[in-house]
Amino acid sequence: MNGPVDAAIDEVPPSSFQPESADGDEPPRQRFELEDTGFKEVPKRWRKFYRIWQGEGDSLGPNEVICPVCKVVIRSHREFRPGDRVYCMPCMSRMVVVRRPDGSLEAEVTY
């Protein structure tokens, strides 16, 4: 599948990602079933966690951010939230998810 939207399969609390807020004002994270989109630049077991950005007409799901270093789309089984750590295996970069003023989520490189 080349599209950005993966099927949300259920809603469960996160495990190792950033914890839900203490007062419980955020809904549980959505979980997503990922499919291999044909991205071949990492070993097979990691391929479904990355996909090529398709350019105009493409969009990111709540479980996706773009790597600022190599522009590959990084994916997760879980909906991303600010503070989450993400890894881009194709370019070996480590990042943290941040929320921009317009409300969108982005990944910032952490060296």
Binding site: S15, S16, F17, K40, E41, V42, P43, K44, R45, W46, R47, F49, P68, V69, C70, K71, V72, I74, S76, H77, D84, R85, V86, Y87, C88, M89, P90, C91, M92, S93, R94, V109, Y111
Partner: protein
């Protein structure tokens, strides 16, 4: 290879597990196997010679030869420089990664030389020397001087950030307009560039975080080397027949990288 639960996602790895995994030889081997297993010479040979290669005009063929000759200069420069960097790598992760980059660069050089032969060039080595852009030749000399001087930070910047950024941008664009065989070769090369770029930015980013004074030194080196590489790849666009207004922003991704590293002047 890191000992990980294969049902887990990469983002749940500890940082040292992640670095051990992505710098490993097995990671590299399984990654390149994914996009090279059906194209040992850089393209799908079973397809035969595609129509767009058979019908290429003499002028287009000549322009492509010049472009590929300059790609060969870039790749042979990276091959020599990355092999020199292995010796001065600060740790085993970097040493092992650079060994994989040496192999990548050698393969790139090999496929571009083979493409030149396919285009009728009988002595590719001589043709590369004759058609090499002077700016790129000068850049090669400067980069290899940095390696010879043992200047790890400057050499990694010049090779894995500056040269790789420019190649990545130009190769991606060329891939979108190239004949089928050249396009398939460039596709495999671009996939490798992601690792090389990422290694350079992340290594320098970690170092500069502990050595703020290093930024001004690298910024000065950048100001010295930028014009050589920018002019060389700008000329590739002209060889590809693009007018200046139709050219993609050659330095856009590169400038974003130097900004993240704090190397803007």
């Amino acid at each position: 290879m890191a000992d990980v639960d294969h049902d887990e996602e990469p983002h749940l790895l500890e940082e040292d597990q992640f670095l051990q995994e992505v710098h490993s030889f097995s990671f590299w081997f399984e990654a390149i196997e994914g996009y090279l297993e059906d194209r040992p010479r850089g393209y799908v040979e079973t397809l035969g010679e595609p129509t767009d290669s058979k019908t290429m005009s003499d002028a287009d063929r000549d322009q492509l030869i010049t472009t590929l000759c300059n790609y060969c200069v870039g790749e042979s420069t990276a091959l020599e420089a990355s092999s020199g960097l292995v010796r001065m790598a600060p740790n085993n992760h970097s040493r092992i990664f650079l060994a994989t980059q040496v192999a990548d660069e050698a393969r790139h050089l090999e496929v571009f030389l083979r493409r030149l032969e396919m285009l009728g060039v009988t002595n590719p080595e001589a043709e590369v020397e004759a058609r090499a852009a002077s700016g790129l030749v000068e850049f090669r000399k400067r980069l290899l001087d940095l390696v010879d001087q043992g200047d790890w930070e400057a050499a990694v910047f010049a090779q894995n950030v500056l040269l790789e950024s420019m190649e990545d941008t130009v190769f991606k664009f060329h891939e979108s307009v190239a004949d089928t065989i050249t396009q398939q070769m460039l596709e495999g090369v671009v996939a490798d560039e992601r690792r090389h770029l990422g290694f350079g930015e992340n290594d320098l980013g970690r170092r500069l975080a502990h050595d703020p004074d290093g930024r001004s030194r690298l910024a000065a080196i950048r100001a010295d080397l930028d014009p050589l590489v920018l002019a060389s790849f700008d000329s590739v666009y002209r060889e590809l027949g693009l007018s200046r207004e139709d050219q993609p922003q050659l330095g856009k991704e590169y400038l974003a990288t130097v900004e993240r590293l704090g190397l803007t002047t």
